[in-house]
């Protein structure tokens, strides 16, 4: 199995590498670039812990091959905190204690961020629906919903 050259932008910096085609994007980021904020909880696309941004969209890094990201742009949690919305979510999660072990948290933050970018004022039902594919065993989810709701209220145009 020969190696394939890839070139992509990761957290704002160009990265070039030779990778086995079988290497997932999640493993590429973790192993080749030490971006260990990408977490592996299931490696079959169900738990959501490996969520990151590819070309601006949230995706599951375990269900994307590194070679598929060639020519693309990846943002992980390590590169996302330059963004005010990410920081607002992290702050709200912290205040509300919307995490315990933290293993699901980078993915939760990025997934919530994608929701608020598209729908800045979701109902609690809509928040739960959007996060319904991200597994958390520690919190029971309510605190996470509360934290996302808190940030949405800070966004412009929030209903009184």
């Amino acid at each position: 199995m020969s190696q394939t050259p890839i070139s992509l932008i990761v957290n704002g910096a160009r990265v070039s590498a030779l990778v086995e085609p079988r290497l997932t994007l999640a493993d590429f980021l973790r192993q080749n670039l030490d971006l260990t904020g990408v977490h592996l909880g299931c490696e079959h696309g169900v738990c959501g812990a490996c969520t990151m941004l590819l070309n601006g969209d949230i995706v599951r890094g375990c269900c994307v091959l590194a070679v598929q990201a060639h020519g693309g742009e990846v943002t992980t949690i390590e590169g996302a905190d330059g963004d005010a919305l990410t920081r607002a979510l992290q702050s709200a999660f912290h205040e509300r204690n919307a995490l315990q072990c933290g293993f699901c948290s980078p993915a939760m933050v990025l997934t919530a961020r994608a929701l608020l970018q598209e729908n800045p004022h979701p109902t609690r039902e809509e928040i739960r629906d959007h996060l319904s594919g991200n597994y958390c065993r520690c919190t029971g989810y309510q605190a996470i919903v509360d934290a996302v709701e808190t940030v949405s209220r800070q966004l412009e145009g929030a209903p009184a």
Binding site: T36, Q90, N97, C101, D129, G140
Partner: protein, 795 residues
């Protein structure tokens, strides 16, 4: 201020964080993706392990051919049981205080016969996990499939073939309790209800899988283990024992742990194999169980069939209670905590909140060819509570007594403590009555019943259910230590003042996200008199902590917290003695507040702590000769008056059952809990919520489905259904506070209470919704199909 047993109010301390909802400082790095979980730890020239696992429930290992695998580039070692014997001695999961508990020896890899689908048989170590997995398919293991014993009742049948010939039958453990006059009680009862409850096997599914990085350095023969686990001290002692190393040459480090819930507190063959391989190869070996492996190797739990019987007098007094509990634990009792504890706790906890003089219980713990089971969060409590509360509600429906009225009538009254119940459980102080009335108000119960009636008229079926629970926390040495387990019931905390006037605190408790580090900091800051940001907590490293027990049985606050509290006071004493010398003042006239030495009477600051500490560390010339500043203090604490610090609470559930599809909508959940002095209500509440959802998972969604050949049918997250955000309710929480007098802090444990009564409450709610149809369900998980079958709607 008093610190030797009298309950302290936060007003006694100049600065107190006890009872304050502070956010966790160490959560920030987790939100930034900068945690360090085991798989994130870098090691030099690390190798990766993978395992060939037995695909059968029961099989003879006839032959193993590893030659093709060994030839693969990047494969460093392929090992069988024989190869690891020189490095690792076998273990047996029994403890002497579980009289009659039997099990068989286990090693890191199966030898001769393998007893469950998933048991590791061959280990591969390679330069990457990819290559290790490639090698697995090149290993030929010839198995001869043997007849599996799968169903627990089949295992217990008199003619059953023993899984372990040497043991003669499949009974791992049996126990009976018989107090009072049970038969007479039932004879006198106005109403007797009997039910068969069934609880499905399920498993913890921590999001971070089990992970271990073992680094044996042959040059100095020291072993360093990075471990995703709850009890590093236990692991270190066991590793020293089984790998033949001096205890002080074994270091176990738990950095960030991605959830554990009891799963990561047991000794696993694959992890022991990883350590053995590190020693054999003299290199770092990492093993991370992937999700498919986890389902067939993490401990399962809670597979029980319970027949319960309850008798009520015509006025609704419980006159007799009896249970017969059967449970299947897999082919081995887990080491070192055994797999008898769950059944033992079901027997002990059933009926616990109530005044019951006549109680009989029998437990039979059976071996079977499935994944081994053992302690998982709230061990046994959800079963005990569901059986008790299910029987009570069934009896109450028969007598036409409201659930709240029936509970209030039978719970041990709040003014009856301390007391010992009929089976000898010592209760220091519980608050069932208070919690019940708080729950009723919190739920707006009367309005809920009115709503239910209105909705029924519209053909919408709401159900309201409650569950009363007691919960074991902060166990003393009688729980494990007395049976010979290397598990410490005490915990230790060392605190020192650094040159900058900060307090560095080393604790034997551990953090998996519940906030132990934060509450230790709060407790220490309060005891010493510094602000919270001046406290740094170090935990999880056996080389850098006083000996402790780690996390289990909700002991962090009650035991770890107390040790930290007392250590903090000792440090304060030492600081004030030094301050007295330096300021030429009587130490009793001084205090510490807001990071300064102050005059106790006038509250006037005398000298900043940082300044005093600077002098103590660098300017000994400013102190009288012979003065040795006492700026390090250690305290170890063990609860000794009560074997457990029982806590209590009640939960309520509101559901809507779609009687055409059997689907249950969880509309709302409530918890009123009493964990004694709350150190950080924010953390407690989120522990409770997490526990509730975990309990709801087992009650409605989670089950490990096996076929008749002992094959796990749903061993992935696609088939094993976990509770997700879309289906879970908001959970409202209120508190009662009954501090314990064991220790000055008054804190009891809170970590498992959420799990204990959630299944009971939701089961009672569902049965309440089904009541108009005369239907009932006592099998968990309560899937839509099971509910529909209970309604008789599927032909």
């Amino acid at each position: 201020m008093s610190r030797d047993g009298a309950h302290l109010s936060s007003l006694d301390l100049p600065v107190s964080y006890i009872g304050r909802s502070v956010a966790r400082p160490n959560a920030l790095r987790l939100l930034a993706g900068r945690g360090t979980y085991v798989d994130d730890v870098k090691a030099s020239r690390v190798l990766h392990a993978a395992f060939v696992r037995n695909p059968y429930a029961h099989a003879k290992i006839v032959a193993i051919d590893v030659s093709r695998a060994q030839a693969i580039e990047g494969v460093v070692c392929v090992a069988t049981a024989e190869d690891l014997k020189p490095f690792c001695t076998p273990w047996v999961g029994v403890l002497s205080h579980f009289a009659g508990l039997r099990s068989q020896p286990q090693g890191p890899l199966a030898e001769g016969v393998s007893f469950w689908q998933g048991e590791p048989v061959v280990a591969v170590v390679a330069t990457s996990r990819h290559i290790a997995e490639d090698a697995l398919s090149e290993i030929d293991v010839t198995f001869e499939e043997l007849e599996p014993t799968v169903d627990m009742d089949a295992a217990l049948a008199p003619d059953a073939t023993p899984i372990h010939a040497a043991l003669g039958n499949n009974i791992a453990f049996e126990r009976r309790i018989d107090v009072g006059a049970v038969d007479a009680g039932f004879a006198d009862a106005a109403v007797v209800v009997e039910r068969d409850f069934s609880f499905a096997r399920h498993t913890g599914v921590s999001l971070e899988p089990r992970s271990i990085l073992a680094e044996f350095n042959p040059a100095d023969r020291q072993l360093v283990i990075h471990h995703s686990s709850q009890a590093p001290q236990m692991m270190a002692r066991i590793a020293a024992k089984h790998f033949g190393l001096p205890e002080h040459d074994v270091r176990v480090i738990c950095k960030d742990v991605g959830g554990s819930f009891g799963v990561k507190i047991h000794i696993y063959p694959d992890e022991m194999a990883a350590i053995a391989l590190s020693i054999k190869l003299g290199r770092a070996v990492k093993f991370v169980a992937d999700r498919l492996e986890s389902f067939v190797s993490d401990i399962h739990a809670r597979e029980h069939r319970v027949r319960g019987r309850l008798g009520l007098s015509k006025d609704g007094d419980i006159v007799a209670l009896e249970i017969d509990d059967r449970t299947g634990i897999g082919p081995y009792s887990m080491y070192p905590r055994t797999s008898a504890v769950e059944a033992n706790q079901v027997m002990n906890i059933t009926g616990g909140p109530y005044r019951i003089a006549n109680y009989r219980a029998r437990a039979r713990v059976a071996f079977q060819n499935k994944v081994p089971t053992s302690q998982y969060r709230a061990v046994g409590h959800p079963i005990a509570c569901a059986v008790t509360e299910g029987l009570i509600e069934a009896a109450g429906r028969k007598l036409g007594i409201d659930p709240f009225v029936l509970r209030a009538r039978n719970v041990i009254p709040d003014n009856a403590y301390p007391t010992v119940n009929a089976i000898g459980l010592k209760f220091e102080g519980l608050s069932h009555e208070t919690c019940l009335s708080k729950l009723k108000a919190l739920m707006n119960y009367d309005e809920l019943r009115r709503l239910q009636a209105r909705k029924r008229a519209e053909g919408v079926y709401l159900g309201v259910g409650i569950g009363v629970f007691i919960e074991i926390t902060s166990p003393g040495p009688e729980f494990y230590g007395v049976g010979g387990a290397p598990i410490s019931a005490q915990d230790g905390c060392s605190v020192r003042l650094d040159p900058g006037g900060n307090v560095v605190c080393h604790t034997g408790t551990t953090e998996q996200g519940q906030g132990t580090d934060t509450i230790i900091a709060q407790v220490v800051a309060s005891a010493v008199g510094v602000s919270l940001d001046r406290v740094r907590v170090v935990s999880g490293d056996t080389q850098a902590a006083p000996y402790g027990g780690g996390t289990w049985a909700s002991r962090g606050a009650g035991i770890g917290g107390e040790a930290a509290y007392q250590a903090g006071f000792k440090l304060k004493d030492g600081v004030l003695r030094l301050a007295g010398i330096f300021l030429q003042s009587d130490p009793d006239k001084l205090d510490i507040a807001d990071n300064s030495i102050i005059d106790r009477a006038s509250r006037e600051p005398r000298i900043p702590l940082s300044e005093l500490s600077r002098i103590a560390h660098f300017r000994q010339d400013e102190l009288p000769k012979g003065v040795s500043p006492d700026l390090v203090a250690t305290h170890h604490y063990t609860p000794r008056n009560y074997p457990f610090a029982f806590t209590n609470g009640v939960q309520g559930s509101l559901v809507e059952v779609d009687v055409e599809t059997g689907f249950v909508k969880l509309l709302k959940h409530w918890v009123v809990e009493d964990c004694g002095t709350p150190i950080n209500p924010l953390l407690i509440e989120e522990q409770v919520r997490g526990g509730v959802v975990q309990g709801l998972g087992g009650a409605l969604y989670e089950e490990c489905l096996y076929d008749e050949r002992g094959q796990l049918l749903n061993g992935s997250l696609a088939g094993y259904l976990l509770p997700m955000a879309g289906e879970m309710p908001d959970i409202e929480i209120d508190h009662a506070v009954t501090p314990t007098r064991e220790g000055a802090l008054g804190a009891k444990g809170a970590g498992e209470a959420g799990v204990a009564a959630a299944p009971a409450a939701v089961m009672n709610a569902i049965n309440d919704a089904l009541n108009p149809f005369g239907a009932e369900i006592t099998t968990m998980p309560m899937t839509p199909e099971r509910i529909l079958r209970a309604l008789g709607k599927i032909n």
